[in-house]
Amino acid sequence: MAFTSLTFIIFAAITVAVYALLPQKAKHIFLIAASLVFYFWWKAWAPVFIIAYALFNYFMALAIAKSEGSKKRILLFTAIGASIILFFIFRYHILDGILSAIVNPNGIDISILFPLGFSYYMFKSVSYLIDVNNKTFEKVNKFDYFLLYVVYFPEVSMGPITRAVDFVPQISKEKSITAQSINKGLVLVAWGFFKKIIFADRLASLIAPYYSDINTAGNGSAWFLIAAGFLLQLYLDFSAYTDISVGVSKMLGYEIKHNFKAPFFSYSIPEFWRKWHISLTSWLLDYVFTPLQFLLRSLGKFASIIPAIITFTLIGVWHGGTSAYLMFGFLMGLLVAVDALIAKSRKKLKKKMPKALFNTVSLILLTIINIIVFLFMRVPDAQTGLNIIVRHMFDFGSWTAASTLTLEFYIVMALSLIMTIISHILELKTDEFTERFIKLKQPLLWIVYLAVIFAVILFGHYGPGYDPIEFIYMGF
């Protein structure tokens, strides 16, 4: 079920209500059950698969912790290898032929075999295995704790990707569910709904027609704005999801790290990636980039360049097997590598000019680069993306007025930009704002909640008057 659906609201409300009333010892068991129901809702067999997968990794981790030397390494690589193979089966459909041959004759479509959000709990499980191997984290001795870590429903299908070291210790902690703690979570959830249903979805359907018929948009500045629109939509959509994820977690008594920390307020590409999709970037940083960098450290500058390109290309292809995603990742890797190369010269330059000027120019450059590179996340293949960029976006002859864009587009873009800025400020000061908010005196608090709810009901992009927009990251 999509997070911004009526079904999910009812599901979450019931889950939180029952959870709050249960004794401490039963809370996490109930949470496992609720999470499995969530998976079951999507595909009936998914709970079976995820439990089996969790059992496998659980026992492999126990074995790894007990072994030494080469046996330990073999176990680790086997466990990780199994996950990678499954990932290739589910994401890149390498076994589609064989699977079809087996199930199609029975009238079954192979699509029902693919579980929901595998790449997310795969990342969680693999990070756990590596941490146990490196002794960064103690192996988990209770299967129910490990299972909860894997199936935890607020992180289903879109993350954030929490680490066992951050999540598991919270399971046994005493959970005090109070009106205050629920309010704190509810505020975030309401904010997420507000962002997604009114702005992200509306923006998405406004720009969609231009992407389905690329030549209708006109050239020059029009495409630049449309691509900027996509970048805003992506941020509002994904950060809204995370808000809901973190908010529901707060209501359940779990603290989850947010995936975004005002990413557009950055001055360089590496800095941007430290604040965008944080859980994925830090996962790849810790388990791919840093080890690779360490192994290649004798190569001087290339010790950072090669791992950067590999890591970001992986980010790209993790999203999907198209040339567009590959291009996205590769370009980002290249940009990070370039950043490493020019770091020293940039520092010198920074000393020579006023800080405000340097930062402003950096910000503008970063924004332009992001608008162009993120275009590849929206188009079906690299060729289309390059086409748009070279033939349309940089058609300087048309950089006068984006006349094919409607007034509605401009208004929604402007409002979305304002929302993005507000959202950024809130991301930087979440705790302060939440504290201030829940301290609001009674009628005012309810008025704000009612205003937000009715804003979503009245201005939201849902219902028979519109097309439904799925969360972008849901298929991953």
Partner: protein, 353 residues
């Protein structure tokens, strides 16, 4: 103690939210003559309406309730929607009966001459259910008329559809706040003024006695309606509205008359009374199925007399409780003069062609 306080607060919040949701939904419903008509009906005081007329769009410019009031002192009210699906009739009856317990229901049976499948489309179903107040009656109406279970939620909560149009052409205006409880008096007691006119050749239907069957699904709905009326002791009169009917149409009217009278229900075909009503086919209609204000006056006058002669309705003129009906007539009459002038102009234009 804290838990109970929280739960109580939560329940109160949910109640406030629900009430607001209902009000906002009513306000956001698109403005139309149907909304005005139905919201006007709901604002009528309990047990003050003598007869309710249910039908399709023909009824709206036909029943001049203020005119009948002025002549006879009886209260009538139209509850018609455009292209009314027959399945909705019993729910309108049920709904209206809540506030008007013993009233007579006049049902325009021309609805049964059309295949129901063409009428059971979203816009037409919504014309009925989205002009009703929220109630179990409405829920049952939706459940019967909307086949796809998954879509029903968008009907229960019609705001999910209409909120997308609040800024549009037919959007919400400040004055629409009056619909917060879906009760707002209709200036002309539900009458819809039209200023169009067209010229028709009258057809003598008096000798047609043959019968021609109506579509099967419509006949089934007619029988279901009669079952409902029997079971609930509804005071019902089936009729055919006066229009430029053809001989074939008359045969279908006869078919309906047979079915209905066989079950012991009353039936009247106003197409048998062109002379008595003094219908002028060159002036009184605006298209084949609909009359204009001229036709409405003549029909309403005839209907009023028919009701006085056949039913025990009291003449309530002079009764203080019905003062708003006097006002409605004054307004209606004033507007009718204007409408007649425009109609005459339009007639002049047609004749020149």
């Amino acid at each position: 103690m804290k838990k109970i306080k929280f739960i109580v607060k939560l329940i109160i919040f949910i109640c406030i939210f629900s009430v607001l949701l209902v009000s906002v939904s009513y306000i956001v419903r698109p403005q139309s003559d149907m909304k005005d008509r139905f919201a006007g009906f709901y604002s009528e005081p309990k047990d003050t309406i003598d007869a309710v007329m249910i039908g399709a769009s023909s009824v709206s410019p036909l029943l001049a309730a203020p005119y009948i009031w002025n002549e006879y002192g009886i209260t009538t009210y139209p509850l018609s929607t455009n292209a009314q699906p027959a399945a909705g009739i019993k729910y309108i009856i049920e709904e209206a009966s809540k506030s008007q317990e013993d009233c007579l229901f006049m049902v325009d049976a021309t609805m049964f001459m059309v295949e129901q499948s063409s009428l059971m489309t979203e816009p037409r179903i919504r014309n009925v259910v989205d002009n009703m107040k929220y109630s179990f009656t409405r829920i049952r109406a939706i459940n019967e008329m909307v086949e796809d279970k998954g879509s029903r939620i968008d009907y229960y909560f019609d705001i999910s559809k209409y909120h997308s149009a609040i800024f549009g052409e037919n959007g919400v205006k400040a004055e629409d706040i009056k619909y917060f409880n879906f009760q707002s008096p209709s200036e002309y007691k539900g009458y819809l003024f039209v200023e169009a006119v067209d010229i028709f050749e009258p057809v003598d239907l008096s000798n047609i006695t043959e019968e021609k069957p109506i579509p099967e699904d419509s006949e089934a709905e007619l029988k279901a309606l009669m079952d409902y009326c029997e079971a609930n002791e509804v005071n019902i009169l089936f009729f055919i509205n006066p229009y430029a009917a053809t001989e074939i149409n008359k045969q279908e009217h006869n078919y309906i008359k047979s079915i209905v009278e066989q079950r012991g229900f009353s039936f009247i075909n106003f197409n048998d009374f062109y002379e008595e009503m003094d219908i002028n086919f060159g002036k009184d209609l605006y298209n084949v199925n609909h009359m204009n204000v001229y036709g409405a006056e003549k029909f309403s006058s005839f209907l009023g007399r028919y009701l006085i002669e056949n039913y025990a309705f009291e003449d309530k003129r002079g009764n203080e409780d019905y003062a708003d009906w006097d006002e409605a007539y004054i307004a209606w009459d004033k507007r009718a003069i204007e409408a007649k002038q425009k109609t005459d102009e339009n007639l002049g234009k047609i004749k020149k062609r």
